[in-house]
C-alpha cells in the first residue's frame, strides 16, 4: 500500500580523509572545575572590580602603617616635658601644627596630615587605615571561626544522621531563632567585663575584651547557618555511589567525610564563608558604633564614625571618610561573594 523510497547521496558516506579528521580534533587542554570558575569570575566585571577594590584596601591597610611617619595613638601635640600644644588638635586636611610650621619655615620637609587630625591631635589618615585593618581582621577571623565550627558540627550531623542529627538540629533551630544582634550586644556587654580580669597582662589585652567577646559571640551564635548548609550538602552527597563504594571497602566515617564529602561541597563552603566576612565586619562596626567594639585608643571604622558624630557641624569629613570606607568594603565583599557564587556554584546556574 505504502511505498517508501529514499534518495541517498552516497557521497556523504565516504570515509573521512585524515585532513578532515584532524579538523574535528579539538586541540585544547582539558579544563578543570576551578579553571572554569575562574574564567566565569573574570568575565563578571562587577565581581572583578570588587575583587580589585578588596585587594587594594587590604594591601594598603597592611602596608601603609609600615612607612607612614605617624602612629595611630600618638598625640602630636603632646611632647614629653612640654605643655600640650593645642594647635595640633582638629587640624583640617593638609594643615600643620605650630612646631611643624616652624620646621617648614626652616626648610625641613614635614609629612602632610592627609585627612588632618582628630580632637586629640592624632593623625586621622593612619587612624582610618588602622580602623580598616581591624575591621578586615575581625571579619576574616570571625568567618574562619564560624567556618570551622559550622564545618565540624554540620558534617557530623549530616553524616551520622538519626538521633545525633535530630539532637544537633534542634539546638541549631533554637540558636537560629534567637535574635542574634540583641544576644551579641548582651553577651559582649557582659563578657567584656568578665574577660577584662582574665586577659589583663596577656597579648589579648591590647586587642581588648570587646573584640575577644565578639569572637566568642560569633563562635557561639553564627555557626548555625553554616552548619545547616553543610549538613544539607552532606545529606545529599552521602547517598552517592562513590560513598557506598568507599564504605564497602571499609573506609572509616571520618575518612569518607574528609576525602569524599567535604571536597565535593567546597564551593558552597567557600562562597558562604566569603559572604560571612562582610556580615562580620558589619556586626563589628555596629558594635563599635554603640561603644562595644575595640578598646580605645585602638580605632575601628565604627568607633571612628561614632566619635565623629560629636563634631559633625565643623568636621563632617571625619564622619564621611570611615563611613565611605565601611560601605565600600561591605559592598564590594558582598558583590564579590555574589560573583563567586555565580561562578562556582554550577547548580545555581542550572
Amino acid at each position: 500500500m505504502f511505498r517508501f523510497s529514499m534518495h541517498v547521496n552516497m557521497d556523504d558516506f565516504i570515509p573521512a580523509t585524515d585532513e578532515e579528521k584532524a579538523y574535528m580534533v579539538q586541540m585544547r587542554p582539558s579544563s578543570t572545575f576551578f579553571k572554569d570558575g575562574v574564567k566565569r569570575l573574570i568575565k563578571n566585571k562587577v565581581a572583578l572590580v570588587s575583587f580589585i577594590i578588596i585587594c587594594i584596601v587590604t594591601l594598603s591597610s597592611i602596608f601603609i602603617p609600615i612607612f607612614w611617619p605617624y602612629s595611630y595613638d600618638s598625640m602630636l601635640g603632646v611632647q614629653p616635658g612640654k605643655a600640650v600644644d593645642a594647635s595640633y588638635n582638629n587640624l583640617k586636611p593638609f594643615t600643620y601644627g605650630k612646631t611643624e610650621l616652624a620646621k617648614i619655615e626652616a626648610g625641613e620637609k614635614v609629612f602632610p596630615h592627609v585627612f588632618g587630625t582628630d580632637s586629640s591631635g592624632r593623625d586621622y589618615f593612619i587612624r582610618v587605615v588602622y580602623g580598616t585593618r581591624i575591621s578586615l581582621a575581625v571579619g576574616f577571623f570571625a568567618s574562619i571561626i564560624v567556618l570551622i565550627i559550622g564545618l565540624v558540627v554540620g558534617s557530623v550531623a549530616g553524616y551520622c544522621g538519626g538521633k545525633v542529627d535530630l539532637f544537633i538540629m534542634r539546638i541549631v533551630d533554637i540558636i537560629y531563632s534567637l535574635p542574634d544582634m540583641l544576644m551579641v550586644i548582651l553577651l559582649s556587654a557582659v563578657l567584656n567585663r568578665t574577660l577584662e580580669t582574665v586577659i589583663s597582662g596577656t597579648v589579648f589585652e591590647k586587642i581588648g575584651g570587646n573584640i575577644i567577646s565578639l569572637f566568642v559571640v560569633f563562635a557561639l551564635l553564627y555557626w548555625v547557618s553554616m552548619s545547616r548548609l553543610i549538613r544539607g550538602q552532606i545529606l545529599a552527597l552521602k547517598e552517592q555511589e562513590y560513598v557506598l563504594a568507599a564504605k564497602s571497602t571499609s573506609a572509616k566515617g571520618s575518612w569518607i567525610i574528609k576525602k569524599h564529602l567535604l571536597p565535593n561541597c567546597i564551593s558552597v563552603i567557600v562562597i558562604s564563608t566569603a559572604l560571612q566576612i562582610p556580615s562580620a565586619i558589619f556586626t563589628e562596626s555596629y558594635l563599635s558604633f554603640l561603644g562595644l567594639g575595640v578598646n580605645a585608643p585602638m580605632p575601628s571604622l565604627g568607633s571612628l564614625a561614632s566619635d565623629a558624630l560629636n563634631g559633625i557641624n565643623s568636621y563632617a569629613y571625619r564622619l564621611i571618610i570611615p563611613a565611605v570606607v565601611i560601605s565600600l568594603i561591605v559592598l564590594s565583599l558582598n558583590l564579590f561573594g555574589d560573583g563567586l557564587r555565580d561562578a562556582f556554584d554550577p547548580k545555581l546556574n542550572g
Binding site: 535574635p179 540583641l182 553577651l187 568578665t194 562596626s285 558624630l309 559633625i312 563632617a316 563611613a323
Partner: protein
Amino acid sequence: MNSKTLGYILKRVLLSILTVWVVITITFFVMHAVPGGPFLSEKAISEKAQAALEAKYGLDKPLHIQYFTYLKDIVTKFDFGPSLKQRGRNVIDIIKDGMRVSAKLGVIAAGIALAVGVVLGSVAALRRNRIIDKVIMVVTTAFVSMPSFIMGSFLLLLFAVKLRLLPANGATSGGLILPVITLSLSPMAYITRLTRSSMLDVLGQDYIRTAKAKGVPAGKIIFGHALKNSLIPVITYFGPMLAYIVTGSLVVEQIFAVPGIGRAFVNCITSRDYPLLMGTTIVLATLIVVMNLVSDILYKVVDPRINLE
C-alpha cells in the same frame, strides 16, 4: 486548614516558646555571671547597706531560686523588677514609655518600607531592563548593604546640618522624620528587590497569559492577578524586617536622640543598669520571635501551594 497545617503551627509555636525561654535563661545567667554582681557600683557602700540592698532585691537567696522567682514574675505578672539607676521606677514602666515612641517609629518605618517597596518593585518588574528598572536596582543594591548607622549619620549630616531642613533632635516635633526615613530605607530596598523578582516570576505564569489572551486590561491583570500572588514572598520578610528595625533603632535613636526603647537599651549598657538591660533584651527578643512566628504561619496559611515539610 488541614491537620498538617495545624501540626506545623503547633510545632512553630512550641519552638518559639522554647526560644523565648532560652533567651530569658541566657539573659539571667549571663547577667549574674558578671563579676561583682549587678550591685557593684563605683561608689563603695558599707557592708550593711550592701546586705540590705541584696535582701531587698532578693540577691541573698541561692541563684536557682532567684531564677525561678524571676521567671515566675515575668510569666505571671509581666514584672521585670525595679530599675537600678532610675530610682523608684519599674523596668516594665520604662519599657512601656520607650515602646510608645519606638513603636510609632517602627510601625511608620515598616509601613513606608512596604508601600514604597511594593510600588517600586512592581514598577521595576513591569519596566524590566528599561532605564528606570536599572536605576531602581542600582540604588536598592546600595541601600541594602549600607549599615543603618551610616545611613542615619549621612541623613543627619545632609538634612539637619548642611541643609537645615529637618530637625536633628528626635524629641522635637517633626523630629521623627529623619529616624523614620533612616529605618525604612534598607527594608524598602529589600522589599523592592523581593517584589520585583517575584512579580517577574508571576508574570511568566500561564494564568497571566490566559488573562492577556482573554483581553483583560493590563491594569486589571497587574492589580487583580499578579500583585496578590507576588506579595506572598514579601510576607516572609516581615520577621527579618522587624528584627532589622529593632536593631537599627538602637543606633538610630542614639544618633537622633529619640527617647525610645532603643536608646534606653544602649544607655543601660553604659550605665550598667542590669535589670533594665535584662528586661529590654527579653521584651525585644520576644517581639522578634513572635513576629517571625506570625510571618512564618501567615506564609503557610496564605498560600496553600507551599509545601510543609
